[in-house]
């Protein structure tokens, strides 16, 4: 019989589980019910109050605590996850995706003598567990299965609802971990200033800026400053997250005019992110990357483009407005600011 363990960690406030962890708990509950398997939940760096919030799951709760496990770091996180998996004797380990656990999941699977698969978007199967994931940067979809155990499955964020349950009194088993030797010290987080923050994973909307914003306009001139003001104005009015095509980001390295707030971190597509947002609006984009790869997990999609024949928006976007994005976004910002 399978034994399922869900690994979880705290969010940055240190007072609640990360959203991805709560989504993994939901996936664990669903899978345990389907397979008729016992469920365990493991906490890395948690306390009793957090465990109490999962009391209603009825799962076996295990925790690794201590100052060393408060910071995300390969050596300590891998040791903690390994210890939790061994204590639970798990055959299937569900892991929430995110920088912290994605950094260690494969290493943990190797230490357990098991296997790992990442970026899993769905769990299915009737007689055996099957997992869905994408290959070739979201261009080919496959359903896989594994006979080897333990099987560590890293679930993509946004694929399950976050667990919500009534708090209770949980009985948490503390798992001892021998502190591994480490040469790494985490010294902090480097973030853009609040008003320069253009990447917002929790935003409802993704705004995609293409290279057209920095090209010559009908008057024969380039209007990068105007483009920057319009884009930032839209982001402030809507709290949208900003994505960009590779070509626009790369222009900076080629000495061309660039939007000052864009970095490789904004890049979506082949060598960028494939974010999940309810809505997406692409502007001045004329390539496959943002429309096929970068938009894979965007719900409703609209585009503003001067090219009525852009083959990449056809069949990928719900609506394409053939118009000048400068004029449309200027008017849009005006209307949004009036609307408040």
């Amino acid at each position: 019989m399978e034994k399922i363990l869900v690994l979880t960690h705290l969010d940055e406030t240190g007072s609640a589980l990360s959203r991805a962890s709560l989504e993994a708990v939901t996936a664990g509950l669903e899978l345990a019910t389907r397979l008729g398997a016992p469920l365990g939940i493991g906490f890395v760096g948690s306390d009793a109050a957090i465990a109490n919030s999962l009391a209603a799951t009825g799962a076996r709760l295990l925790a690794v605590s201590g100052e060393a496990f408060a910071q995300p770091r390969y050596a300590t996180d891998a040791a903690a996850c390994e210890a939790l998996c061994r204590a639970a004797d798990a055959t299937i380990v569900l892991v929430p995706a995110g920088a912290r656990f994605s950094r260690v999941a494969a290493g943990v699977a190797y230490r357990l003598g098991g296997v790992v698969d990442t970026h899993i978007t769905a769990l299915g199967g009737t007689e055996k567990l099957e997992a869905t994931r994408w290959f070739y940067r979201q261009r080919v979809e496959a359903v896989i299965s594994r006979s080897a155990r333990p099987w560590v499955i890293v679930l993509d964020a946004g694929t399950h609802a976050a667990y919500v349950g009534a708090p209770g009194n949980a009985n948490v088993e503390q798992v001892a971990v021998e502190l591994p030797a480490t040469r790494t010290t985490v010294s902090g987080i480097r973030a853009p200033k609040q008003d320069e923050q253009t990447i917002r994973p929790d935003a409802r909307m993704l705004f995609v800026a293409g290279a057209g914003w920095t090209k010559k306009q009908p008057d024969g001139q380039i209007h990068v400053d105007d483009a920057a003001k319009l884009i930032l104005g839209f982001l402030r009015a809507t709290n949208a997250s900003l994505g960009s095509s590779k070509s626009l980001v790369d222009q900076g390295g080629e000495g061309q005019s660039v939007l000052p707030f864009l970095t490789h971190m904004n890049q979506i597509g082949q060598t960028g992110a494939t974010p999940r947002h309810a809505k997406g609006l692409s502007t001045c984009c004329h390539g496959e990357e943002p429309h096929v790869v970068g938009w894979r997990f965007i719900g409703e999609r609209r585009a503003i483009s001067l090219d009525p024949n852009c083959g990449w928006t056809r069949g990928k976007a719900d609506v394409v407005y053939v118009a000048d994005a400068f004029a449309v976004i200027a008017k849009l910002n005006e209307m949004l600011s009036t609307k408040g």
Binding site: G107, A109, H119, A191, R200, V322, K339
Partner: protein, 270 residues
């Protein structure tokens, strides 16, 4: 005083991103139609790792740079004709299957044993670079397991920057959620760094570097050891292209004001 580093970059080859991909079933499992004739490039994130490694090696005189790459020999040779003109390195090829469908654990095992066998690699100076994910599997698995197999537990993923210090320690910036970086300091090598894009532009082709690289590259390709990759119990239930095709409404006759009004309504709708 700069540190002398031994940097091993692990990089696969992938179909050119502009190619149309069509999955098919082959005797050895899933594959891509015409995979061997599709134009290939060095894996994009791993290529960033290579450029960062070359930059780091140049800043630390006496450093050495190897490129370990697994793929069919003929395909490797084709891709290396271009890559060799970018930066100076010593190629360590492994003759193996192409594509994203072979198991990552087996790939990691082949790469780890190859790195162990590279003559002259000093573990106390060793930095293992690669892309944090590939453009084929995109799994963030191979490098971690390579590190574990080599007993290296200082690992970083989604790296955008490394700054070496005079005492041999180095600061690493790793991508985390929300467009931010986690800053860590590692006191010394060895370490594994899975790179995101980094900060360097792609170097221009330099035929002189290409000529120098090719002198050692061709013999290395001829001597490349063959690797057979185990499936580790991995089976594919289905492999397909996404079928979702949207009915696109192309709007050509609306003024900017009308479009903006429609978008305001759309943005506000739940």
């Amino acid at each position: 005083m700069p540190s002398q580093l031994h940097i091993v970059v692990c990089a696969g080859i992938v179909p050119d991103p502009l190619q149309t991909l069509e999955p098919i079933t082959t005797p050895s499992g899933p594959g891509l139609k015409n995979e061997m004739v599709l134009p290939a490039v060095l894996d994009p994130w791993a290529a960033c790792a290579l450029y960062e490694a070359a930059h780091l090696a140049a800043k630390n005189p006496g450093s050495k740079l190897w490129l370990v790459s697994l793929g069919p020999k003929a395909k490797l040779q084709q891709v290396m004709m271009t890559v060799a003109q970018k930066v100076a390195f010593e190629l360590v090829p492994i003759d193996g299957p192409i594509g994203g469908f072979p198991d990552a654990h087996a790939t990691a095992a082949a790469i780890a044993s190859t790195i162990e066998a590279i003559p002259g690699v000093d573990r106390s100076k060793l930095l293992i670079f690669g892309g944090w994910e590939s453009a084929t599997r995109g799994a963030c698995v191979t490098l971690q397991i390579v590190g574990e197999r080599l007993g290296i537990t200082e690992q970083f993923q989604g790296v955008d920057q490394i700054d070496m210090r005079d005492d041999g320690s180095f600061e690493v910036l790793e991508r985390i959620e929300g467009g931010r970086h986690q800053v860590s300091v590692c006191s010394s090598a060895p370490a594994v760094l899975g790179w995101a894009t980094g900060n360097l532009a792609e170097p221009r082709n330099n035929p002189q570097i290409g000529m120098a690289n090719m002198r050692s590259m061709m013999p290395a390709l001829q001597k490349a050891k063959a690797a057979t990759l185990d499936t580790n119990g991995l089976s594919y239930v289905s492999v397909s292209l996404p079928k979702q095709q949207r009915t696109t409404r192309v709007v050509k006759d609306m003024t900017p004001d009308q479009i903006a009004a429609e978008l305001v309504e759309w943005i506000g709708a739940e």
